[in-house]
Symmetry: C2
DNA sequence: AAATAATGTAAGCTAAAACTTGCTTTGCCA
DNA sequence: TGGCAAAGCAAGTTTTAGCTTACATTATTT
């Protein structure tokens, strides 16, 4: 399989052409969000952008490259936020504070453009998706650095960090896409922090493993189907 | 937009034709798993199945209907497992036992056909995806029933159940798709249970909010970036 | 202001992929 | 064993969508 091109075949040099490119990307965003990848065609994008299809192909070598550029601009615009979040992270001394800053940043990012975010994460085929495994690994490592000083009675820190990372992201992502009402509520971040914090800081194993005495107050009201 | 048809235009009546349908579905599975939705074409499916394209269209009105049937059979085959899991759930008295049974069932389900599961969840376009919102709501309600007797100091049970449901599923799903090594490890279920259990059973609010005395042993080794 | 480069567009081409038509073969049943 | 319905297939048709060619227009440079 030949690696598909991704970089534009021509760089816009005049104001006119950068406006054209912007129009194309804006139209592409609209089509993707409104109709999904299945109906995302170059002809349609060009039509909605009000530019000729041939002009589109002057700046984008193929269909995929349009959404690649969209994703590039998307993460680009999120970078300053990430920098802020990182600074805030260093400032907080407590685990709770650090986790809170992290989650808030993630929620903000999802709030910014939830529909587009969903398309990138769920709708694109693998060929057009910018999966950056290096970035994933970096996040994993950073998170591990962050939480490791606070972990108590965690048998496998790598496993725990995986659990935390996936859970945290999934909750925010799912709320953004399926339950915008939840994303809007201020308690959400606190709940995720609680989930993570208590998972990381467990009582010493000797306290729990006594099997008797466990359910002195845990009997349900009625546990029928 | 006219609702696309989904039911076969002709029901197979002889053994020969049910074999044809099976061959089509098997080929469809192969193509989907191996090459993804982008390369999933009716001609290709028919070719691999060794049946004529016209025969395919005798039993499937269109391309989408093939993967819809695939999904139908998939959940069909998972149903007995679910029944078993439900029975096991009732048997366990403790929260830990119930959660453990639930997670184990989910892990088993993902272990059974991880590649196909991934395709259904991540690769299909919305038009071909069988999202059953009623089922989602049912899961949410069932889970709430299950955990509500055990929740301690949880401010909003609905929110908490959302958090649990999404986190649990995401961890298993992500492990199945990105980290098969993790899915194979027996500790995984225990970790997820720990995450859920401790999140649900929190100390009374008056115990934590003393800000001093918090970090008597939590100072990191070295917290440089 | 002429030359040249950048940008824009009308009108297609092409290949692929969804889907049909018309006919033959196969199996069931009296 | 002949009649009939189910099943199968060769060879299309048609539409769609990615992409190109050849030319026209607009800006920049000297």
């Amino acid at each position: 399989m030949p690696k598909p091109k991704v970089s534009p075949r021509k760089r816009p040099r005049q104001a006119r052409s950068t406006a054209t490119v912007d129009a194309i990307l804006q139209a592409a965003t609209y089509i993707l969000v409104k109709h999904g990848w299945a109906h995302f065609t170059t002809n349609r994008v060009a039509e909605r952008a009000g530019v000729n299809i041939a002009s589109l192909y002057q700046y984008f070598p193929n269909k995929e490259s349009i959404v690649v550029e969209l994703q590039r601009r998307h993460v680009e615009s999120a970078r300053p936020d990430n920098a802020d979040a990182m600074a805030a992270l260093q400032a907080k001394g407590s685990l709770r504070g650090k986790l809170g800053a992290l989650i808030e940043a993630s929620i903000d990012e999802h709030r910014a453009a939830p529909a587009l975010h969903r398309v990138f994460a769920e709708e694109l085929p693998r060929s057009a998706r910018r999966t950056d495994p290096a970035r994933e690994a970096l996040v994993q490592a950073t998170l591990k650095q962050l939480v490791s000083p606070f972990a108590r009675n965690v048998p496998d820190l790598d496993l725990a960090v995986f659990v935390l990372r996936v859970a945290g992201h999934a909750i925010v992502h799912e709320a953004a896409n399926q339950r915008p009402d939840l994303l809007a509520r201020p308690e959400l971040a606190g709940e995720i922090v609680a989930l993570m914090e208590r998972y990381l800081q467990r009582p010493s194993p000797s306290a729990t493993p006594h099997p008797r005495k466990r359910n002195m107050r845990a009997r349900p009201l009625s546990s029928h189907s």
